[in-house]
């Protein structure tokens, strides 16, 4: 059984000019020990999907269709009081900016022990020992000495490690990491990625890694989901999606990434831009930019279609004959 199993969810925002469907009919699941990379252009709906799982959608946004199962339990419409317990106990959340997750007024040590104590029955001394253990695990040197430091006394990379330690306080089975390394340098980024990988390999944590950095995905993810204009464009094994992308958008995306030693005069690029959510074209949202577009593409949204035997799926009419996801 998958740790997290999202099927056919839609997320809508009622606005003055009508309902905005930000995420539409999106399905994905993550197994224990697996890292699912989620990529897509800015505004595609990556963060909304992550936030929906942890019940942190900002009103008036809400899930209007589909289900979210955590270890088989339906958590789609749990009240906030219930959801808060689950967030603390089962799901760890890591955001791009470590400062949003840390309180500048309290020491690192205090924030960690408090979090542990709210979710675990243990003495203060035990909680402190556990906190130091966690800081050590995430690679903070000399954690006993750094225990009473304030967030601003740490560098960006160290703060992000503290946030990861916070997310680990209660042995989560799922980690949602939304651009955890975007604000960090490549050198520090590699350390954080290693840390996330170890967590999934060694502790069996299921991880949703949201990023726009394909290099990070290639290195860390087992599978990858590509989101375009609020819809899943492609999902599959990371090597298949990177080496043999099936959806024309994924193909265009992969081609446009510069690579060292490539020596191209001009980079291949997709013409135009992703449509605004309130101006999504009929049919496949990618059709105005797609060289392969045919008449059905302009009329009907493509279902997810299996494009190979290795569990690679693409929402593209070019694969019309294949198995369709329902």
């Amino acid at each position: 059984m998958a740790v997290i199993d999202i099927s056919n969810i839609s997320i809508e925002f009622p606005t003055r000019r009508g309902v905005l469907t930000a995420v539409e009919n999106l399905s994905l699941s993550i197994e224990a020990g697996e890292i699912l990379g989620v990529v897509g252009e800015s505004g595609a709906g990556k963060s909304l999907t992550g936030n929906a799982i942890v019940g942190l959608l900002e009103p008036p946004g809400h899930v209007t269709a589909g289900t979210i199962l955590l270890n088989g339990r339906d958590i789609t419409h749990l009240p906030e009081s219930e959801m808060r317990k689950i967030r603390g106990a089962k799901i760890g959340v890591i955001f791009q900016d470590p400062l949003t997750s840390l309180d500048p007024l309290y020491t690192i040590g205090r924030q960690l022990t408090q979090t542990i104590l709210t979710h675990k029955k243990m003495s203060h001394a035990e909680a402190k020992a556990r906190a130091i253990e966690l800081l050590n695990e995430v690679g903070i040197p000399a954690p006993e000495q750094r225990f009473d430091a304030f967030p601003h006394e740490f560098s960006g990379g160290m703060r992000q490690r503290v946030v990861i330690a916070l997310a680990l306080c209660c042995d989560p089975c799922l980690i949602i990491a939304d651009e955890p390394t975007t604000a960090l340098d490549v050198s520090v980024q590699a350390q954080i990625i290693d840390l996330l990988k170890n967590l999934s390999r060694e502790k069996g944590v299921a991880t949703m890694l949201v990023t726009h950095d394909m290099g990070v995905i290639a290195e860390a993810a087992d599978r990858v989901a590509v989101i375009y204009s609020g819809r899943l464009a492609e999902i599959g094994d990371v090597r298949s999606v990177i080496d043999a992308p099936k959806h024309p958008y994924t193909r265009g995306l992969m081609d446009s990434i510069p690579q060292i030693g490539q020596n191209l005069k001009t980079l291949p690029n997709i013409i135009g831009a992703m449509p605004r959510l309130d101006a999504r074209p009929e049919g496949c949202a990618f059709n105005p930019r797609c060289a392969k577009s045919k008449s059905i593409c302009r009329q009907q949204t493509a279902p997810l279609i299996e494009t190979g035997s290795d569990g690679q799926w693409a929402a593209c009419w070019a694969y019309e004959g294949g198995n369709k996801y329902v």
Binding site: G156, M158, D185, S187, M214, A218, M254, S256, I257, Q262
Partner: protein
């Protein structure tokens, strides 16, 4: 100054006073604190070429860019543009001419465009400032031409910045930068805030404009693949100094400085699974930089000399490198 060079930077220093308020300092008997964001940096750029600066966050790339653009008055050193020393130039008309020839494009296409202005006014501003149009009609004609040149349409001039996507806004910034007909553009992370597919469009536009107009770029990015795509020459910076200056082909095939080598090993790539080695340690605090070679605490080749003596740039083939280990043939 060599004729071919449009820019020569010599021994540039940019120090910031980051002391706590005077009273606090007095009460706690604290000394003044100086942050040496750029500390003795030299490089030159050949006309029509792209010179890039790369390095970890906080190493001083933007500070160099801003000093060259004349937005900061350097603490020391010379910035010579087209034979004119920006630091000592007294003649206002010379300075005006230098600033017309040189424009800057920033990372954030959101912050750099005034939301209350129509796009055509944003683009026309440098044309007005430098009196480059004969009359209103001529001004509009120039603006329209610029819009088309950067891949927008002439009618987009009537709109406001918020009506455009990030990539389109960066096109507007480029059109504005080009409007004073500069020869030299300083581009500080021009695509870092953009999606990769949009990044490709902007990089292609920049290359095409360089070919068409013979532009020279000082280009800044922390993405080595983008650097590889855009540059002719590259300066690798570490903590306010340049540790290696090298032609592009050498950087990737024959990196010499230990920091350059580690930086290259730390990049994730699309092909493989985790053969990259994380760079150990982090960028030191620039207020209290390490002694000697500032890279020594993270360097696998550091020895006693490295801890005490600051290395200077030496020539190795086409490259310049500041490293004792390289000088001593240890690597």
């Amino acid at each position: 100054m060599s004729e071919q060079n449009i820019l020569e930077v010599q021994g540039l220093k940019m120090y910031f006073d980051v002391s706590p308020p005077f009273v606090t300092r007095l009460l706690n008997r604290m000394p003044k604190q100086v942050l040496k964001a750029v500390d003795g940096l030299s490089f030159s750029i050949e006309r029509g070429k792209t010179f890039s600066l790369v390095g970890e966050s906080g190493c001083g790339k933007s500070t160099v860019a801003r000093a060259v653009a004349g937005l900061y008055t350097p603490t020391g050193g010379d910035i010579i543009i087209d034979g004119q020393n920006l630091a000592t130039a007294k003649d206002r008309s010379k300075i005006t001419d230098i600033s017309r020839q040189m424009q800057m494009i920033f990372q954030s296409p959101y912050a750099s465009l005034d939301p209350r202005w129509r796009v055509r006014d944003i683009i026309a501003e440098p044309i007005r400032a430098f009196k480059l149009a004969a009359n209103k009609e001529d001004e509009w004609r120039q603006v329209e031409q610029l819009l088309v040149q950067v891949g927008l349409s002439a009618s987009d001039g009537e709109k406001y910045p918020h009506e455009f996507s990030g990539g389109q806004r960066q096109r507007i910034s480029i059109a504005r930068a080009l409007s004073s007909k500069p020869e030299f553009l300083i581009c500080d992370e021009p695509t870092s805030a953009l999606d990769v597919s949009v990044q490709a469009q902007i990089l292609n536009l920049m290359t095409a404009l360089q070919d068409e107009l013979g532009l020279t770029y000082l280009f800044i990015s922390h993405d080595l693949a983008v650097i590889d795509h855009m540059s002719d020459w590259i300066g690798v910076m570490y903590l306010g100094r340049v540790c290696e200056i090298t032609p592009k082909s050498e950087l990737f095939s024959n990196p010499r400085h230990p920091y350059t080598r580690l930086l290259l090993e730390a990049i994730p790539d699309l092909k493989g699974r985790s053969h990259r080695k994380p760079l150990k340690g982090e960028v030191p605090n620039p207020i209290t930089p390490p002694s000697g070679c500032t890279f020594h605490p993270r360097c696998p080749y550091a020895n006693e000399r490295c801890k005490q003596e600051q290395p200077v740039l030496g020539e190795y083939g086409p490259s310049q490198v500041a490293c004792h280990a390289v000088e001593e043939f240890r690597i």
